[in-house]
Symmetry: C2
Subunit: 197 residues, 2 copies
Amino acid sequence: MFDGTIGELIEQLGRLPGVGPKSAQRIAFFVLQNPNYDPRDLADVLASIRERVRFCDTCGMLATDTECDICQDVRRDETVLCVVEEAKDVWAIERTREYRGRYHVLGGALSPIDGIGPDQLRIRELMARLGNSAITEVIIATDPNLEGEATASYLSRMLEQPGLTVSRLASGLPVGGDLEYADEVTLGRAFAGRRSV
Amino acid sequence: MFDGTIGELIEQLGRLPGVGPKSAQRIAFFVLQNPNYDPRDLADVLASIRERVRFCDTCGMLATDTECDICQDVRRDETVLCVVEEAKDVWAIERTREYRGRYHVLGGALSPIDGIGPDQLRIRELMARLGNSAITEVIIATDPNLEGEATASYLSRMLEQPGLTVSRLASGLPVGGDLEYADEVTLGRAFAGRRSV
């Protein structure tokens, strides 16, 4: 149905998440024919993106330097730390514009069935950060599902220490859902209504 | 919110049609972190696609050779020709698997307000194809809108010649649709084009 390279383009576009066969054809047509679009711009970024992106030494967020932009930003509140599972959760929280503190990216959630225990997550790094810093509050923002809740309870026990407030995002997020897909208002409300654990 | 190259990737992905800000972030995360995905495959195709794709000398379809796969396919019926506006219309018709004839891509529809007259479309090429070929039926499959209808009437006048059947795709209610929500024009067409059962 599609000539050589065109078929390859449509197939490659169809591998992206959320892009079905029809969307892939629509995007391919745009890429091929839109006079205001140069596909080489996207090609350039894609060609080198994996080499150019690393993890922030401090928080574990995706970064293009040894530290990510958020960790480098001196205007962010150093006393509050928000613990999330994945880099995409940081993006979701940043979209709410409700939170001005720092982040810590665990790199996943506890899931014994998948062989992910505390040592597979960046929990040791989290404890080290708390040891010598101005952090007075930790907000646990793991996903509101089974693994996320398990991780939250584990962390809340680990973080029990004098002078440190530990909170969990307020329920209001649909249970069984995925933090990444929460709308900005709901996620913002969840931040505002966080309660100590 | 996004570090250098990551922000650039998200911005570039967001320029694709049908990809909103959230989808762009989701795709970016996949591109950055999915272990089974190599973004260089898509990068390679995008980098050279415009140079590698041309228009089929015969039908005007997007092709990677002087003739497209459909024109080269000897199993296709040479006696029927389907005239469409754009390459993506060929893809849409091919998806139905109902049609086994040939195509002719006009490259648009008549639209005096946009300065598109018969000379801007591949109508001369269409007439030349009809002159020396086995074609006995032409199906006009332009879009069912103002420009498409105007193009269809123009073509049907141009194509009046002995031994050549000219038809237009049926207008009517979409299958699986709801009569209650059909617009007046579509419903009117469905009445006018009613067939005995």
